[in-house]
């Protein structure tokens, strides 16, 4: 048959790509084959635009047990244990159907982790939305948060952290990135491999329905006014089924009856079949007639492309079928024999014995198209990077700016969100959400893991290279503040349409910057996810390369939290403040601007700072630590007071910036800065250590009293009751939703 252009367009394939398929197969593909190619060659599955750039990222290191290419990455955390982790996006489905989109995102990342033989113990999520003033955005936020809660809470994996940001660019294209971490024995990591001709292939989990067909293709296109039509491509989650699968699969993995296992995520049965075969250098043959189906009359095309959730594909050792079936029966699951491993390296799909697709695995995986797309520096940059403070008129006085920033959704407490997440189940959570990095202990050892996801999209927008470096620095600094040595990372790269040279340029520069920063800080990236086409009606999100970092805390009793501990402690600012206001939250909140040059970053200094933090935490010298990010020093000081009832007084030297001097001094966002507190008698010790480490440090004040007091060169600029500031900060986000309830 000859494909007409419309059919190809519906499958997201170009004429060139189609011709290549014909050439590879030596014939025209069947309709089922066309569907299979379309999902495997989609941006989401093939990484065709991003692959050449991703290859430049550092992925190896002393502790890396598993780099990119498997379902998740893994790093050695000592005592024979591994941390298995990954971050993934579910942006497109979450906009179409917020609850199910987010819920199934959580479900998918959890499967990636237990597929590796690890028990999932922590979830984080990195979310971006438009302005909360917009009722449609509030609806999306409510749905996404409820979806994450609905899935994570019932399966019993705590959501211990993450971050949420708000910017108008995300209004029509929210970002929902979910991170999961699990623990396994280092020598028991399971691979998604099919090998051993004649070994049976099993299907287990939920039945296959028509939901999610072409989900991967949808995630590889922009949104337009035809949005409603895409709704059937969003899957529906069943966390109870996933819980059964999780427990049963971990039990099966305790036996030695398993050869390989993979979940059916994007591109469902298609992807799991060809990827497992490809990894093992083998072929896999299945008969779709044996696949459990939820609906009648499903075609092979639909069965192969369905993205129904909570399904796994297993390759079992021949002769051990009964052992595996018995364990699944215990959990009231039925493992169904749907095919076997072959020697010919092909994916062969039959329907009641008749071959409906036969494709050599490499055509779908390694030999899928790779593009080196054209790049061009975006025209907006030259103008956006120009920032003249003089043209902004009068700045807000410091005390008003502090209030405005504390109430800004990017800064304000996210309690409205995280109190909906079970963040304590499994009794490992040492630092709860909303307090910087989330920290979980690893009960099998004496250690703990600090976890943080970060990215400031404004910085990346204004300078993709440096912005991505700043994301790496911030995420790793956050885990270092808790006392964690950054030992591995996973990335989720959210960008617009890669076929636009300007977007591709942003992407390439960001990957380059991320790689350089990870190399400098010695943090290997063990896997991740790329989400492109985050555009609605042609307008892209802020480029948002999120980095999730895992930090190792050797002694779980020495975790450092962000809140000041007791009155009389000396407050020390580590790092250097410079007159930098570009891309800041202040400019965004007060002047509605995303402008200027992002803060400078010296990676050697950043590394030295992080080493000092880890060392100071391990020795018990550092009592509290909180990094300076959105809102700068003033916000960091205020947040360190919250939750304790302890006020603080600081005095800092003023920076030179004309009539914006106070603003820049208190709300500038210079990088590589952390506010720590120490016992008064140990302040000199910390300052000496910092000097030795090459980290600028200054004692800037003391903890105590019921007010937050800040002065510049001895001149008081802020003196506000702590309870008042805390109220502003802690109730801001929920007030948006209460207003909504009042209207309803």
């Amino acid at each position: 048959m000859t494909m007409d252009d419309q059919v190809l367009e519906r499958h997201g394939l170009t004429r060139d790509e189609y011709n290549r398929i014909v050439e590879m197969l030596g014939r025209e593909p069947t309709f089922t084959e066309l569907g299979i190619f379309s999902v495997m060659w989609s941006e989401h599955c093939s990484y065709k635009s991003s692959r050449v750039h991703l290859k430049t990222l550092p992925t190896t290191g002393r502790r890396v047990l598993q780099g990119p290419g498997e379902n998740a990455g893994a790093v050695d955390i000592g005592d024979g244990y591994a941390a298995v982790f990954k971050i993934e996006s579910h942006n497109h489905p979450s906009f179409i159907e917020p609850y199910q989109g987010a819920a199934t995102g959580v479900g998918g990342i959890i499967r990636d982790i237990f597929t590796m033989g690890a028990r999932p113990i922590a979830l984080l999520n990195s979310l971006r939305f438009g302005s909360l003033e917009d009722p449609l955005v509030r609806r999306t936020v409510s749905g996404v948060v409820a979806g994450i809660a609905g899935y994570g809470n019932s399966i019993g994996i705590p959501t211990v952290g993450g971050e949420i940001g708000f910017d108008d660019s995300y209004t029509g294209n929210p970002l929902v990135n979910v991170f999961c971490l699990g623990i396994s024995r280092a020598d028991d990591i399971i691979k998604g491999t099919a090998s051993g001709a004649g070994n049976p292939v099993y299907y287990v989990g939920a039945k296959t329905g028509r939901d999610g067909i072409h989900g991967a293709t949808m995630a590889s296109a922009e949104f337009d006014e035809k949005l409603e039509e895409k709704r059937p491509a969003v899957q529906v989650g069943d966390p109870f089924m996933e819980k059964l699968l999780l427990e049963a699969c971990l039990e099966v993995m305790q036996t030695d009856a398993l050869v390989g296992i993979q979940d059916m995520g994007a591109a469902g049965l298609t992807c799991s079949t060809c990827e497992m075969g490809s990894r093992g250098g083998a072929g896999v043959e299945i008969d779709v007639a044996n696949v459990p189906q939820r609906e009648t009359g499903m075609t092979p095309y639909e069965i192969m492309l369905s993205e129904s959730q909570e399904r796994m594909l297993l390759v079992v050792k021949k002769g051990r079928e009964h052992d595996v079936e018995r364990i699944f029966e215990k959990w009231d699951l039925h493992a169904v024999h749907i095919g076997q491993v072959t020697t010919d390296g092909k994916m062969r799909v039959k329907d009641r014995g008749e071959v409906v697709a036969e494709i050599p695995n490499p055509c779908l995986t390694d030999e899928a198209p790779v593009y080196r797309r054209p790049m061009q520096e975006p025209a907006y940059l030259r103008e956006a990077r120009r920032l003249s403070l003089d043209s902004l008129g009068q700045p807000l006085v410091a005390r008003d700016a502090l209030r405005a920033l504390l109430a800004a959704p990017n800064v304000a407490s996210k309690r409205w969100v995280y109190r909906q997440y079970d963040h304590m189940v499994r009794t490992n959570t040492l630092v709860v959400p909303g307090m910087g990095a989330g920290v979980v202990r690893v009960k099998e050892t004496h250690r703990a893991l600090a976890l943080s996801t970060d990215c400031n999209g404004r910085f990346v927008y204004l300078d993709p290279y440096r912005g991505a470096q700043l994301a790496v620095a911030e995420a790793s600094r956050n885990v270092a503040c808790a006392g964690g040595l950054p030992i591995g990372a996973t990335n989720c790269l959210n960008f617009g349409n890669p076929q636009k040279p300007e977007i591709m340029w942003q992407f390439a520069k960001a990957v380059e910057g991320m790689g350089a920063a990870c190399r400098a800080l010695d943090i290997p990236i063990t896997g991740g996810n790329v989400s492109l086409y985050n555009e609605t009606d042609g307008s892209a999100v802020l480029p948002t390369p999120v980095l999730g970092v895992v930090g190792l805390i050797e002694n779980a009793d020495r975790v450092v939290r962000r809140a000041f501990r007791e009155a009389g402690e000396v407050i020390v600012l580590l790092g250097e403040s410079r007159a930098e206001l570009g891309g800041s939250e202040y400019l965004h909140v007060v002047h509605g601007l995303i402008r200027g040059v992002p803060p400078a970053l010296d990676l050697e200094r950043e590394a030295a700072l992080q080493r000092l933090l880890v060392e100071g935490a391990a020795s018990g010298l550092i009592r509290s630590a909180h990094d300076c990010a959105e809102g700068g020093l003033a916000i960091t000081i205020a947040e360190s007071c919250f939750d304790t009832g302890l006020g603080a007084s600081i005095d800092v030297p003023g920076l030179e910036a004309g009539h914006f001097g106070d603003v820049v001094t208190l709300f500038g966002e210079s990088a590589s800065r952390v506010v720590v507190s120490v016992r008064a008698q140990q302040a000199a010790e910390l300052l000496a250590l910092a000097r030795k480490a090459g980290v600028p440090a200054a004692a800037i004040g003391t903890v105590g009293g019921g007010a937050v007091r800040m002065s510049i060169d001895g001149r008081s600029v802020i003196d506000a009751p702590l309870v008042e500031l805390e109220h502003l900060w802690s109730t801001s986000i929920e007030s948006f939703f209460e207003k909504q309830r009042a209207i309803a």
Binding site: N153, S154, G156, K243, H423, M424, V425, T427, L430
Partner: protein, 237 residues
């Protein structure tokens, strides 16, 4: 002393209860599969939190049909101490071992946070080591913890002193603001008429070590050790 922690397929606080009994308290503990028919010589039974069978119907509605529940009923009828935590409490309600039912939280959202509960009665196996009126800081984590019963049932619970825990302020005042879910009379936990079966929505097993934020929940487990060692509640093996 041996704790049996019942594992329904969707239990997710089973390991937390097991850990509290076995590792924090240093007692024997065993996870008992819901399809089992024996409590294996346990002295105390814990029905843990979670979503027993997914709870797409009513919370705990299917769990009461699990084979192990007959044995739990028999154990309780013989005077053995049974503690239902969160979903375990919901299962006890559905099984008719405690009166009342759960509605969705009045905020219509899941709530996970530390709350304060006041110990109302100390003559149960799970509060025997508490001081009367003692205030405990223990987390909740539920979407349906809004306790409801017919007025005459609530009257009877109050009259018989079967309300064991109430949501309160840090200083022990029972106020509407301290009520996180809309429960009648700020009820956080109750017992049966023979006082050996206790159910509560807050999670004491999550508050057994200062490292995870509070050790106030430990006293429930210490109570049952004390009660059993004094022979106050006959083992029903």
């Amino acid at each position: 002393m041996k704790f049996a922690v019942v594992v329904f397929p969707g239990s997710n606080c089973d390991h937390d209860a097991y850990y509290a009994a076995q590792h924090v308290l240093g007692q024997d503990a065993e996870l008992i599969w819901h399809k089992d028919t024996s409590l294996k010589g346990a002295d105390v039974v814990v029905l843990p939190g979670g979503f027993a069978h997914g709870d797409y119907l009513r919370t705990g509605a299917i769990a009461r049909f699990s084979p192990i529940m007959q044995e739990v009923q028999r154990f309780a009828a013989g005077g053995g101490p049974v503690l239902g935590i969160c979903n375990g409490f919901q299962v006890l309600l559905e099984a008719g071992m405690l009166p009342g039912a759960m509605l969705r939280n009045t905020v219509l959202q899941f709530r996970c946070e530390h709350v304060y509960v006041r110990v109302e009665q100390t003559d149960t196996p799970f509060t025997a080591a508490c001081a009367p009126g003692q205030v405990l800081r223990i987390p909740i984590a539920h979407g349906e913890g809004n306790y409801y019963a017919e007025p005459d049932v609530v009257d009877r619970l109050e009259h018989n002193r079967q309300v064991i825990f109430r949501y309160a302020t840090v200083s022990g005042d029972v106020t509407p603001a301290a009520n996180p879910n809309g429960s009648l009379n700020n009820i956080a936990g109750i017992c049966n008429e023979t006082r050996n079966v206790v159910g509560l929505m807050p999670h004491p097993e999550r508050a057994c070590e200062l490292a995870v934020g509070s050790a106030d929940g430990l006293v429930l487990f210490e109570s049952v050790l004390k009660a059993l060692s004094h022979g106050a509640f006959a083992s029903a093996r």
